[in-house]
Each structure stands twice: as structure tokens, then as C-alpha cells.
């Protein structure tokens, strides 16, 4: 019998408001024992407000062979803030405006 028990991944939250971060794994027979044991292996030094344990075989991950699925094959800048040049564009527009209109605006502001 394999008596090294199953493996649980351990996630540690340092303070409220922060995310749980993966810190390692432990061998434990069941989830409650996993919590009791993970608490000392992963929570004995660092500040901690919450620990999660998850059976390793419950986690499904992508393969590093498929890392190209995360690459962008086409231009995706349209969904990024840096994909737009608002400052430059608005400056170009104000200098292009006819002089009289600009003056009218300025006097309008004063009155």
C-alpha cells in the first residue's frame, strides 16, 4: 500500500484583501488533516489569515506544450488603453480649429 498519502496543493493568504497564493504541496490522508498539517508547514512563519488545500488531482492545467494558445496571432491593441492616442488626437483637433472659433470660445469663457 502506498502510505505516503495523497497530495494536496496549498494556497496561502497573507492578509485580507490579498489573493490566495500557491505556496507548495503536502501529503495528507484527507482534507481536514491536510489543513492541520499545512498550517504548520506553510503557515508557521509568515503572516496568514487563510489557508486553502485542494487535492492535486482536482486541478486541471494546461500543458506547456500548448503555451502558444496564449500568444496573440492578430492585433489586439484595440482592447488595451495603450491602443488609443487620445491626447495626441485632441491636441491635433484644437490646433486645426479656425482662429475665429477659438477666439469665440475664449471670449465666451470670459463672459
Amino acid at each position: 500500500m502506498d502510505t505516503q498519502w495523497r497530495v494536496f496543493e496549498v494556497f496561502h493568504q497573507q492578509t485580507r484583501g490579498e489573493p490566495h497564493v500557491h505556496v507548495g504541496a503536502i501529503h495528507a490522508p484527507d482534507s481536514e488533516s491536510a489543513i492541520v498539517m499545512a498550517k504548520e508547514q506553510y503557515g508557521r512563519r509568515q503572516a496568514c489569515v487563510s489557508l486553502w488545500v485542494v487535492p492535486s488531482d482536482s486541478i486541471v492545467g494546461t500543458s506547456y506544450n500548448d503555451v502558444d494558445i496564449f500568444e496573440h496571432g492578430t492585433d489586439k491593441t484595440y482592447r488595451e488603453a495603450y491602443g488609443y492616442q487620445t491626447t495626441k488626437r485632441v491636441r491635433a483637433q484644437t490646433t486645426k480649429r479656425p482662429k475665429s472659433l477659438r477666439e469665440a470660445n475664449e471670449t465666451g469663457e470670459q463672459s
Partner: protein, 262 residues
């Protein structure tokens, strides 16, 4: 509303003697049990269990240091002197704490008996009238809560898992039950302690302990031995020979140069 005692100066006479005796019992139990548990470090059944047991030992010895400091504030010697120079008859620990570690069943059953006792002891001390002790008791309740989770985890699982685990656990319960009763050995100071509100009576603590332990053992498929004589003496300084052996081991290096720093 009972009178509270804010500082060491506010207790005197027989109430001071009673308080000192109470704190010696707390400190010595923790030091001696912590010493026994610490021996598992590196030798436990599996790495994860090893790490947790070692933390229990550290918490216990750490709490002993804190209690010895309270004693020092009450005019007793400093913590290291208390731990490393006293002889066996000066110790006030219960026999439960000083028995050799035995197998994992023995250590976890002992720890469970002790943790239930300690949890209720701390609850009472937290509401007690000697402020420095009440503050300390409140501060260590988190550690104690974890110890309780740890103990319950082991006893509930080992109690009825395999024939071998059941047999080993039952044997430990049978051996240790009388020693556990010794935790509640009446002392001449008991009434003073209760009257001053430092802590509840030993018999009061025992009732809570018994109810909880019996329900857990029952759940874990273990039998409570009948007709057990409590192993008394520890609270009066009358100990099994194991304590002197333990102290010889603990004080061995210190005695090489007792006046030196280490």
C-alpha cells in the same frame, strides 16, 4: 464582581502562595510535556506529522517560558534557573506529562487528554482575576485552539481505523487515563484560588474535561476504562523516577558550566 489583581504587588500572603503554586503547575506541565514532544522532531511517522508535532513542542515550551516569567515577576528565580537548576521534588507537573513518549498512539492520546484539560484551564484563567495571568491565557488561546484541532484529528482517526491502530490507542487510553486524572489532583490552595477568582476549582475543571473526553472517545470507538485510581502526587512534588531521568538529560550540558552563558 470579584476584585481583580492588576500586578504582582497586588497579591500577598496566602493568596500569593496559592497563585505561585498554580503558575508552577501550569509552567511545569508545559515544559515537561514540551520536552517529551520535542523528541519526536525528526522521528515522527511522516514528515507532515513531524512538523506539526514539533510546533506543539515549541508552543508548550514557549508557554512554559511565559509562565516562568510571571513567576519571576512574583519574586521567583528567572526562567532558565527555574528550568535548569531545580530538582525533581520542586516540580509541580502531573505524571501525565513526564512519561516517556512511547509510540505515536501514546503521544497523541496523552496530547489529547492534556489539550482538553488545557483548553478549559485557559478558558477559566482568561476570566480570572490575576490580570497578568488572564492576559497571557487569552494570548495563547489561538495556539491552544490549534493543538485541540490537531489532537482531535489524530484521536478521531486512529481510534477505529485498523485493528492495530485501535489496539494501540485503546492500550494508551487504558495506561494514561489514571495519569490524566492526576491533572486534577486537589491541592491545599484550591479553595483560595477559587475564592480569589484566579481560576476555577480542579473538580469543576474535571467535570467539563470528563464530559468532552468521554464523548470523543466514544465517537472514536474507544472504551473509557472503569474504576481507575487517579495517579496523584505530582502536584505535591512526589514524582515517578522518570522525572529525575528527564531532568538529568535536560540539565546535562547546563551542568558542565552552571555559571556560564550558553
Amino acid at each position: 464582581m470579584k476584585k481583580t489583581f492588576a500586578s504582582p504587588d497586588s497579591v500577598s500572603g496566602e493568596s500569593r502562595d496559592a497563585l505561585i503554586d498554580l503558575i508552577y503547575r501550569l509552567a511545569d506541565d508545559d515544559l515537561i510535556l514540551g520536552h517529551r514532544n520535542s523528541v519526536w522532531t525528526g522521528l515522527a511517522p511522516i514528515l507532515e506529522a513531524d512538523i506539526a508535532m514539533s510546533s506543539l513542542a515549541q508552543d508548550e515550551i514557549g508557554q512554559a517560558v511565559a509562565y516562568y516569567r510571571l513567576l519571576h515577576d512574583l519574586g521567583e528565580p528567572d526562567p532558565d534557573t527555574l528550568a535548569f537548576t531545580r530538582s525533581a521534588q520542586d516540580y509541580r507537573c502531573a505524571s501525565l506529562t513526564l512519561l516517556d513518549r512511547g509510540d505515536w498512539a501514546f503521544s497523541t492520546v496523552r496530547q489529547y487528554f492534556y489539550d482538553v484539560y488545557k483548553t478549559h484551564r485557559l478558558a477559566s484563567l482568561s476570566d480570572g482575576t490575576y490580570a497578568p495571568l488572564a492576559q497571557l491565557a487569552r494570548k495563547v488561546r489561538g495556539e491552544q485552539k490549534y493543538h485541540m484541532m490537531h489532537s482531535r484529528m489524530w484521536v478521531s482517526r486512529l481510534g477505529d481505523a485498523t485493528d492495530e491502530s485501535r489496539e494501540r490507542m485503546q492500550r494508551s487510553v487504558d495506561t494514561l487515563y489514571g495519569h490524566a486524572l492526576g491533572l486534577f489532583e486537589p491541592t491545599p490552595f484550591e479553595q483560595i484560588i477559587a475564592d480569589h477568582g484566579f481560576c476555577t476549582t480542579e473538580s469543576g475543571l474535571f467535570e467539563t474535561w470528563r464530559d468532552e473526553v468521554h464523548s470523543m472517545l466514544d465517537h472514536a470507538g474507544l472504551t473509557i476504562p472503569g474504576d481507575v485510581t487517579p495517579k496523584h502526587g505530582g502536584r505535591r512534588g512526589q514524582h515517578l523516577p522518570e522525572l529525575q531521568l528527564l531532568l538529568d538529560e535536560m540539565q546535562q550540558v547546563y551542568r558542565l558550566e552552571p555559571t556560564a552563558q550558553w
